[in-house]
Each structure stands twice: as C-alpha cells, then as structure tokens.
Amino acid sequence: MSFVLVQVIVGGLLLGAVYALFSSGLTLVWGMMNIVNFAHGDFVMLGMYVAFMVFTLFGAGPLAGAPIAALLLATLGVIVYFGLIRDIMKGPMLAQILGTFGLALLLRYSVFWWFGANFLSLPQNIVGGTFAVFGLRIEASRLLAGVVALLVTLGLHLLLTRTSLGSKMLAVAEDSTAAQLMGIRPDTMQAIAWAIAAGATGLAGALIATFFYIVPTVGETLGIVAFVTVSLGGFGSVPGALVAGLLIGVIEQLSAYLIGAVYKDIVVYALFLSFLWFRPQGLMGKS
C-alpha cells in the first residue's frame, strides 16, 4: 500500500472518530425515544460557531472552546427537550418530523442571519502545527479531535452500560411506564439523554472547527453523515455508531483522494441509499 494511502486512511479514522461522537448522540436519542432529531447536524454547526466565538472573543483554542460548546449545547438540548420534544413525542409522525426539522431551519438561518453566509475558519496553527509519527505527517488539531472524540465516545458507551444512570436510561427506553413504577422519572432521564446527545454534538463541533469549514449550512451535510452512520451502525447502538463512523470517515477521505473532493459527499449519500436497499437494519442490527 502506498504511503499516501496510509496517510489518507489515518486522516479518515481521525475524522471518523468525530463523526462517531456526534452520531452517538443521535443514536442515543433515537434508540431511547424513537424520535429522530433532524436538527442534529445543526447542533454540531452551533458547536463550531461557539468555538469560533470563543476564539474571537477570548483568543482561546479548542481546549477552552470544546467544554464551553459542550455545556452550552447540553443546555440547549435540555431546553429543546422540555420546550418541544416532550410534547411532539406523543404526537403523530408528521409533527415529530416537522418539529425537529423546523428547529433545524430556525437554528441554521438564525446563524446565517447573524454571521452571514461566508465561510469562516480558525487559524491553522491554533493547536500547534503538524508533526510526524512514523513518518506520517499528522496535524495536531486533527489528532486532538480524533483522540478526544474516540475517548468520549468510549466513555459514553461505558456510561450507558456500566453505571446506574445508564441502566435507568435503558429502563426508560425499554418501557417508560414500568420504569416509572420502579421509581425512575422518565422525564428526567430523557432530558439527561438530550443533554448528553446535544453536549456530544457541541464537543464534536468545537473539535472539528479548527480544521473544517465553518458555514451555517454545514449542519445539513453533517446531519446526513450522522444519519448514515446511525443507519449503518444500527439505531440505538453506540459501538455500532463508533465502527460505522470510523468506516465512513475512511471511505469519505479515500473517495476524496481517489475520485475527487467534489465526489466525497456523493459517495457517502450513495452508500447510504444502497444500504437502505440491501441492509436496512444496519451493519450490526438484527434482521
């Protein structure tokens, strides 16, 4: 295998870890409440803008921007849950899709209106340049994003499977009435799930803000990436999202390198549609 190809694959894995991080938020909410957040990609977009604002206001890099973005987005997640999701959850499918889709438009075009449609970017060297590992040239910002995203995704998996909070959330996902009888408040658990899901997007957005283009409509593309990841990994499964996210990151970077940058989104969308045709339950889902 050529050396450049290895370089491209490593880049894909690092980006894929970030995809996995924000997709696990989507899969958590979907698996637990059977609701799909069409504004998920726009939450990531907000995370990017928070990182941008933190830099322009305080001159601080993603080490400060990421926790702030995570906190702000988690708060937004709770607000969205109590203000909108809790009510439309019980409503018809049309109301569910309209609700989160309208939220996506609201967020996307509020940012558009405020910041304009121009591409923004953070300085390249904000996390300290590029260095070589075994001869591979890796940007520090991408390495930081990939490693942090991987650790947080794994942490999220442990939180859901190994802690009492995770068990409670699982119980609500299984049967919220039964959970209520056991003394668990479904409302609180679902609000926590929204906080975690939105916090993950904020973190992911702030992490990629250092090397991704920042534009109000980026959420649309990222939202589709999250959806592809979740449907590939099987909904409700964080490990599935992790594997699928890494895979999509690699496929995207490889097709950008081999076919051309314009076609990387085309490849991902086509992959998604072919998956819907042949394996709608996802890579790890049961048929």
Binding site: L84, L105, R108, I224, L273
Partner: protein, 330 residues
C-alpha cells in the same frame, strides 16, 4: 353538496382575482400562489394523506424543470414537450426511492429523501449536459405560443389555475377511491391495515409515484415562467421545505390545506423580501422555521383543521342554545 358550493365559490373568486387586482405585482403574486399550491398539493398526497414526510420532493420538481428547459436547450422543442418526460423521470426516481424506504419507519423515508435530493443536486451541479452550476435557459424570445414565454403573468395565472384544479380533482378522486380508503387506514395504524389485507407498501408507493409525477409538472411550469433553471432554483432543498411547510401550515391531509398554506406564505415571503431586500433571505427562513416548530408543537393539524374545529364548536354552541331555547318554550 355544500363542499361543491364552497369549491365553486373559491374557483369563481380565483378566476375573478386577476381582473380585480390587475397590477403586474398582484398578478405575479397570484400566479406564484397557484404554482406553489400545485406543488404543495402534490406533496400533500404522500405527505398528508399517506403520512410519509418526504423532504426530497424538490427532486421531482427539478425533474420537471430540467426536462422542460432541456427540451428547449438541447432539442429546440417547446418546453411543453418536456412535461411528459419530466413525469417519467420523476415517477421512476420515486419508485427507486420508494421501494426500499417505504417498508421502513417514516424517519428512514424522510432521511432517504433528503439524501436523494442532495445526491441529485450534487450530480447535476457536476454534469455539463445539464448546465452544471449555471443551469439551463428557456426561450428568451418566444417563437410561437407553445414556447409559453409571456411577459405578463396573466396567461401563467390561468394556466396554473387550470392545472391546480386538475391536481385537486385528482386528489379528491383518489381520496374517494379504494386507494384513499387504504391510505386512511394505513395512516391510522399500518399494522391494523395490513392485518385487514390492505396492501400497505404498494399503496404508499403508488401515492408517492402519483405525487412525484404531479410535482414534476409544477417544476416544469415554474421553469417556464422564470425561463431558466439552475441547481439552486430547481433542486435546492429549501424548495422541498417550502412545499412541506405550506401543506403543514394549511393542513396536511386536507384537500384545500396546501392552497391555504401557499396563500399565506407566498405573500409573506414576497413582502418580507421586498421590505428587507437581499439581507432578508436568512430572516425569512428563520420565520419559516419558527412557524414550523409552532405548528408541530401546538397545531399539528394546520390552520384549516383549527378553523374547522372552531366552526364545528360554533355550530354546536348555536345548536345547544337553540335546543335550550326550544326546551324552555311552553
């Protein structure tokens, strides 16, 4: 019978409108309302009646628009020739998306339609035959009346009115056919409908294909009126959004819902664009987003459903007072 009366009053008002408001601005506005009402009514068949929220209807819109302009640009034919071609493309694409996704939960369908819309937009933007990012133009100087290139909006207005009436007739006919009954049963409970023998997937697919074909006609008409199509105006995801919000605001699953929605939103957008200029583009969609959220949260049935309910309540109240009065009578 009363519905027929209402429909004829509405039609008469629509025919009279451009004669009463004869300025170019009002005629153009009226034509745009009717055009969006056609597309939103087409969306309503699958989104409202079948309950499958498509966010990719712009693909079908684009099929019609590109076929109409392509017929002129590549074959020097009347854009009208493109209409049947557009319908064929749209129905074929609907079948390709619909067969796998309509078996799955509604969310998959919505997301798959977004992915298809973006996929088609990206492919067209990189295809030179379809004009790439610049798009295709129609006849600038009409060779004859079949080029459908008019300076005044009036001919478009009546053409759109005729097509809208046809679309609503087809929709009405569909709701009263066996297919309409199946769709209603499926929307209430797909499992129950299946167990009673309604062919759920097939019925939803037919509704999707019918809706796609009608949407492509709207796209062709749009391209004829504006004389060109490019990836943004023919395949941009925001067009899907507009159709969806018009139907939902007016009342998804109601015959006149999309028309009511278009009659509210198109003037709103024109006015806000006139007042705010180019900088208002973002703000218009902020308002759109807020309206969608509010409908979903408080009034998922739309304006028309709310009006119906108020009307019935008033009717009941009037009846109640009447009965109360009657019982008190000696």
């Amino acid at each position: 019978m009363r519905r027929l009366l209402w429909a004829s009053v509405l039609l008469a008002a629509a025919i009279a409108y451009p004669l009463l408001f004869s300025t170019p601005f009002h005629q153009r506005l009226g034509a745009l309302v009717l055009l969006y009402a056609i597309a939103a009514s087409a969306w309503n068949i699958v989104g409202g009646y079948a309950g499958q929220v498509s966010v990719g209807h712009v693909v079908f819109f684009g099929c019609g628009a590109y076929a109409a302009m392509g017929a002129y640009a590549h074959f020097a034919l009347s854009p009208l020739v493109g209409i049947p071609a557009g319908i064929v493309f749209a129905v074929a694409i609907a079948a390709i998306i619909g067969v796998p996704t309509l078996r799955l939960s509604g969310h998959y369908f919505s997301m798959a339609t977004i992915a298809v819309a973006e996929l088609v937009r990206l492919v067209v933007t990189n295809t030179d035959y379809l004009g790439a990012a610049v798009g295709l133009s129609g006849p600038t100087v009409p060779r004859n009346v079949f080029d459908l290139s008019f300076i005044s909006a009036l001919p478009y207005y009546y053409l759109f009115l005729a097509i809208l009436s046809l679309t609503l007739l087809i929709t009405w006919w569909m709701t009263n056919s066996r297919m309409g009954f199946y769709l209603r049963a499926i929307k209430d409970s797909e499992r129950a409908a299946r167990s009673l023998g309604a062919p759920a997937s097939r019925t939803k697919l037919y509704a999707f294909m019918l809706s796609a074909g009608l949407t492509s006609v709207a796209g062709a008409l749009y391209a004829m009126m504006f004389g060109f199509v490019d990836p943004e105006s023919g395949l941009g995801i925001l067009i899907s959004v507009k159709l969806l919000i018009m139907a939902a605001l007016g009342g998804a699953g109601l015959l006149f819902g999309p028309l009511v929605g278009a009659a509210i939103l198109v003037p709103l957008e024109e006015i806000s664009n006139n007042l705010l200029g180019g900088s208002g583009a973002g703000l218009t969609f902020v308002v759109y987003g807020a309206i969608i959220v509010l409908i979903a949260r408080f009034q998922p049935g739309g304006v028309l459903a709310l009006a119906n309910r108020l009307w019935e309540r008033r009717g009941k109240a009037a009846k109640a007072t009447l009965e109360a009065g009657a019982s008190h009578a000696p």
